[in-house]
C-alpha cells in the first residue's frame, strides 16, 4: 500500500471531518513523533505471521500521515527500527529489511505524489549498520524529496537518541577544531540545533508501554507525552484526536 494516499482513498466520515475542524480551532502541534509499537503483539493477537503485523503497521503509518496532513501538522517523526532491534532473531531482522526494501522502492515510485503533496522524507539513524542496497535506496529517497517543503516525514531507522547526541558532540568538536565555533558558543540551543531532528511538540507511544526507549530524548524534553493502550495497527483516528486534545490542554496549562 502506498505511503501517500489520494484524498479520496481515505475519505473521513462527516463526524471525523467535524472533529477535525473543531480541533483546528485550538493549537495544533507543529511536530508529532510516534513510537509505532505493537506490530508483533497485533500479529500474535490475530494469529498471523509477524511480518504481516509489520506490514499492517506500515499501512497504518500512511493513514496517520493523512490525519496529520488534514490537521496541518508540519513534521512527523516515526521510530521505525531501533539500533537495539538488531538483537532480534536473524529471520525477523531480515524480513524487516526486506519490508524496508519493498517500501522504499514503493516510495520511489510515488515521487510524483510526493512532489504534489510537498512531502520531504528523511531517513535518520546509524545508516551504516544497514545493508548497502537499503542505504542507497534511503539516500535516493532523501535526494528526490530534499526540495519539498510543505511537510516533512523523518523515519528513524537503526536509530537511538544516545547515538544521535554523541554524533552531535562529534560535530561540535569538529567545528571547534576548524575554528567555526568558539567554546563559549556551546549552549543548550546550539546542541539542539546540531541534532538532526528538531524539537517535538507531541510524542505518542502506542501499545501501553510507558517509556520512550531512547527515542528523541533531547527533542522530547519539553514535549507533551501521550501513552495509549492501542496497538499500532489498531491505532484509530479517535486515539489520535484524543492525543491532540491532550496537547491542547497541555498548552492551556502551560499558558495558565
Amino acid at each position: 500500500m502506498a505511503l501517500i494516499r489520494p484524498d479520496n482513498a481515505l475519505e473521513q466520515t462527516w463526524i471525523q471531518k467535524c472533529c477535525c475542524r473543531f480541533m483546528c480551532k485550538g493549537p495544533i502541534p507543529r511536530h508529532v513523533a510516534f513510537i509505532m509499537d505493537g506490530n508483533r503483539r497485533f500479529a500474535a493477537k490475530k494469529h498471523v505471521e509477524r511480518i504481516e503485523g509489520h506490514t499492517r503497521g506500515f499501512d497504518k503509518l500512511a493513514e496517520v500521515l493523512k490525519w496529520c496532513q488534514d490537521l496541518g501538522v508540519e513534521e512527523v517523526t516515526v521510530f521505525a527500527f531501533s539500533a537495539e532491534n538488531f538483537k532480534r532473531s536473524k529471520e525477523e531482522v531480515e524480513s524487516l529489511m526486506e519490508l524496508a526494501r519493498h517500501k522504499l522502492a514503493l516510495i520511489m515510485q510515488e515521487r510524483d505524489q510526493l512532489k504534489a503533496n510537498g512531502v520531504k522524507i528523511r531517513v535518520i539513524g546509524e545508516l551504516k549498520q544497514l545493508p548497502e542496497d537499503i542505504q542507497n535506496m534511503a539516500q535516493e529517497v532523501m535526494s528526490i524529496t530534499k526540495d519539498h517543503a510543505r511537510c516533512c516525514l523523518n523515519v528513524c531507522f537503526a536509530y537511538t537518541s544516545r547515538h544521535e547526541m554523541v554524533q552531535a558532540m562529534k560535530d561540535i568538536s569538529l567545528r571547534l577544531r576548524n575554528g567555526t565555533l568558539q567554546e563559549d558558543q556551546i549552549t543548550d540551543d546550539l546542541f539542539g540545533k546540531t541534532l538532526q531532528i528538531p524539537s517535538v511538540d507531541l510524542a505518542i507511544r502506542t501499545s501501553g508501554e510507558i517509556r520512550l526507549s531512547d527515542f528523541l530524548m533531547w527533542q522530547c524534553s519539553e514535549a507533551c507525552l501521550e501513552f495509549t493502550d492501542a496497538l499500532w495497527p489498531e491505532f484509530s483516528i479517535w486515539n489520535f484526536y484524543a492525543a491532540i486534545l491532550k496537547y491542547q490542554y497541555f498548552i492551556a496549562a502551560k499558558k495558565s
Binding site: 538483537k87 532480534r88 558532540m169 561540535i172 568538536s173 567554546e183 524534553s221 497541555f250
Partner: protein, 272 residues
Amino acid sequence: MFLRQTTMNEWNILLRKTVRNGLTQAESFLFALLRIFIYVVQNVLKLRRIHVVGYFNSIRPFRQIADVSSIAEDAQRLPKVPKHLLLLIDEKNNDHESITNMIVWSFMMGVTNVTIADKKGCLENDLGTIETNFRERCKNPSLQLCSKCVFRLAGKVTDSSVHNVIITSPKTSRQHFLTSVKKTCLQMQRNDALQETLNPDAFSGILDTGKGNISDPCLLIVFGQRFTFHGFDPWSLRLTEITTLPSHCGLSYDSFISAFRKYAKCEQRWGV
C-alpha cells in the same frame, strides 16, 4: 434594473459573509462545547474511580497513610520495585509533609535512591527542612532501617549510602548534562583518538562521575497538569518508565502505590 441587480449582488455577498461568520462562530461554540464535554467526561471518570475505590472499601479501606506492615505486604505482592525513583513536581507549592511521606513509603517498598526535582527549583533551598522532617519521622522504631539515609543536592558527590535522597531541578540536571557535553567536546578537540572512539557508553561513564554510582531512574512520576519531562536531563531517562499523578499535595498512600503497581506490570524488552 441595473441598480436592482447590484443591490441583489451586494445582498448575496452580505448574506454569504453572515453565513460564513455564523458558521465560524458556531464552530468555535461547538469546539468550546466539545472541550467542556471532554472536561466533564474526564471528571466523571475521576469520580467513577473514587466510586470504584469506595466499592473496594468493603474489602480493604482506602488508605491515606499506611503502617509499616501493610507497606511490607504490598512490597511483597509486587513482582518488581524500582531501585531509583524520580519525582518530578510541577506545582505552585511544595508539600513537605507529602514529600517526606513519599520518601518513607519508597524506602519501605524497597527503593534505594529517590531523586526529587521541582520545576521551580525551590526544593534545592529546602534540603535541610526535608532532611529534618525525615529524621523526625525516623525516630519511630519501625523506621530505623532508613535512618542512615544520605541527603544531598545533585552534583555534590558524597559517599553514597544504602539509601540516598537527591534534590535537584530540571534546570540543574540539564545544566549538568550540558557541562559534560562541553567538557567532552573540548577533550575531543584536543584528542583525535577520543573523536573516533566516543560512544554512548563512554559518555555515560563521563556523566556518571558526578552521580556517585547511582544508576539512571527506573520510574519517573510527574506531578502536575502537564505530562512532560520539563526539560530534565535527557540522557538519564531513556529507559525510565513514566507515569503521572495529578498532585503531590496531600497525596494518599494508595494513589502513590498505584504508580508502583503500574511499574511492576512493565516489561523491558531491550529491543528484542
